[in-house]
Point group: C2
Chain length 413, copies 2
């Protein structure tokens, strides 16, 4: 007998009718003889509604108490799904994070899971009961309610799959899998049957927002087989989505590049004429980090004449704050010549584990872009990806030509 | 140092602004040096919204799961109030029923409190923290979430006051106390400074719906001092409401009658020509009870010629159902002559512990009504009340003349 953990997001749980549809889908899997654990998010919009309510009472709500409020969103949906399953004649039982005992640390609103006691769930599963668990929430050592932060429900699903030794963790979303790139930009984009965890991590962090990156890391760490599927496919028309798997499983025929990821939401900042001395990176990025601004790409070129230029990218929403910090605090302090910025840029990346054993990927990428007259402003590489920053207006063109250059529109033999 | 338990209902918690007002009120009490436990209901309308949502998913929702859903209403308000109190600079901490450990039986949607572990609350109180507890909910031995049924928040307040040995349990509502009768009918109605538990029980069950009768019973059993106050009185204008006290405390100057209660919502049924033999009351009321219809007054007069008439009252909404049962099941079975009914009646009662030592209350009541030409259809008496059933059209007149006849409009010396 196989044990499957399924996770349904807020859109899948967005109305009574959709909840009944989820129940039918779960019932079909159960009828195939699987043991079923179902993790659910709050109804779409509900978490935001609860946060707004809290802020109406207290502009900066206390974190412990905010978690008490927002954890109610999933508490409602677990019970609604359990009701719907019982109406279909199944045994079903809802569990809050605290009832399972999903033990977390005490970092309210962004807690980390420390341990899961699967004993009582296992008893229910052995008794043929569908177990429904609230995503996104846990409980700390002192019994306080905690939440895991945005997208925490995916993490709950993966953590439960790990704790219960599930055969597979299925993440149901409103897309039917992971694509070679965004089909709205490249109609020829193909759904990937499988993708490695490392590629998925790069794809997710690069803006292909199918899965929360934290849950993918978690799945990789605990070797949980993860599958992305659509919760909107009709009965009888369901596809198998995309399996996120371990590199060892990947066959030799794996294409070199798995996908083209991109992120529109970027801005770049450059500190010009920085003295080329030890500690300068920290002096520039320290104040940025202190202001809680996340930095993405960081580039420092070889200096000449004792000075160098230092560039980095941030989320576009943080652009003016970051610029102000550089101008007012960093520039006078480090004795830089000038600070410039551009918030009309984007990042485009080619991702694939295959590039490890295939040199020349980066150069093929640069040539492809050059042939279209697209100027590359920044370059950053890792083991399995090459990212470039280009003018925002070239985003769609860059994605399309790269998708074609790496044969991603070709179905594999 | 005194320990005070306050309970705020859904109207008092009905909006962010009102929640901040409750916080200010709690802070004023705290500033006077009291230890404070605050029990809250869900925002007004929220429990009904959640029930409707559940019924949208499942027409007859599973009771266990329904409790999981509706208990979220109070989980939201405890945290909102805690936030608001922290914003005022106080230490505050919210507790769900499960976090306190308000242990109940497993009768979902109508659970009974078995035990309260006050230890962790007491530690918080000793640490100068305002403790906020979700009303209406608890947890059973197996860790399932339970709710106490409508009005359960009052019961939570009283039970906590008993468990923590509180000096007083204050129930904040939208009225400022218990009146001698409804001021909308008798403008001269006075607020009572005190009323005994027994009188309050009679007043509550007779239609003066200030407090849930269950919580009053509970308070009487555990000798908890209960006070009804208004949560809408402005700072500096607050009154002391009505204290519900034990008979032993009542001074000799206590008036004979404390109030005139009434209930519009009644209907009477009479089975005529019933054979006067043992077991007949059960044969008549058994089928009514089996249909889950609550019976209020029951009157059977001395028989003559071997037969008698048997009358009782029910809630008006159950009138036609009860009539049908009597006609179709009871009449042929017991061999009664006829069944008649009237759903245009009301009940008016004079309540007061003083009548125990003052004979003649009933006759003064009957004379007063007779002088106004009001015909009495049924009479029922207890130790501390006399109730009459009269035509509904006389309700206001009867209440007014009785209120005056017993000098309830006179302020006591």
């Amino acid at each position: 007998m196989t044990l499957i953990v399924q996770k349904y997001g807020g859109t899948s749980m967005g109305s009574p009718e959709r909840i009944r549809n989820v129940a039918k889908r779960v019932a079909r899997w159960k009828a195939q003889g699987h043991q079923m654990v179902v993790v659910v998010s709050a109804m779409s919009g509900e978490t935001n509604r609860l946060i707004a309510l809290a802020k109406d009472v207290s502009p900066v709500p206390d974190d412990r108490e905010l978690d008490v409020v927002i954890s109610t969103g999933e508490q409602v949906t677990i019970a609604l799904l359990a009701m719907a399953l019982k109406d279909l004649g199944l045994k079903a039982k809802s569990y809050t994070g605290s009832q399972v005992r999903i033990l977390t640390d005490s970092s309210f609103t962004k807690a980390r899971i420390l341990d899961i006691d699967g004993a009582s769930l296992q008893r229910d599963l052995d008794d043929d009961t569908v177990v429904i668990v609230a995503g996104f929430q846990g409980v700390d050592e002192q019994g306080n309610i905690t939440t895991l932060g945005r997208g925490g429900s995916d993490t709950t699903g993966v953590a439960l799959a790990a704790a219960l030794n599930a055969d597979e963790c299925q993440i149901y979303t409103d897309v039917d899998g992971v694509y070679t790139t965004d089909p709205r930009i490249v109609p020829e984009a193909r759904k990937l049957e499988r993708i490695t965890f490392e590629e998925m991590l790069e794809m997710a962090s690069l803006g292909s927002k199918v899965l929360q990156i934290r849950s993918v890391e978690f799945a990789g760490k605990y070797k949980v087989k993860l599958r992305v599927l659509s919760s909107f496919e009709e009965e009888g028309q369901e596809t198998l989505g995309t399996l996120i798997t371990f590199e060892d499983d990947v066959k030799m025929e794996q294409p070199i590049i798995s996908g083209i990821a991109f992120n529109r939401d970027e801005a770049k900042l450059t500190v010009l004429g920085v003295p080329d001395r030890p500690g300068i990176a920290y002096q520039i990025l320290g104040p940025i980090a202190d202001a809680n601004i996340d930095v993405d790409m960081i580039i420092q070129n070889v200096g000449h004449d004792g000075s160098t230029d230092f560039s980095f990218t941030v989320n576009r929403g943080e652009f003016s704050r970051a610029l102000k910090i550089l101008d007012e605090q960093v520039k006078p302090h480090v004795g830089a010549r000038a600070v410039i910025g551009d918030n009309k840029i984007c990042k485009v990346s080619a991702v694939g584990v295959g590039m490890r054993s295939h040199p020349g990927i980066a150069s093929r990428m640069f040539r492809t872009l050059a042939e279209e007259g697209i100027n590359i402003q920044m370059i950053s590489t890792s083991e399995i990806k090459v990212s470039v920053v280009v003018d925002e207006k070239y985003l769609e063109l860059a994605v399309r030509v790269l998708h074609k250059a790496f044969d991603l529109d070709q179905v594999l033999a």
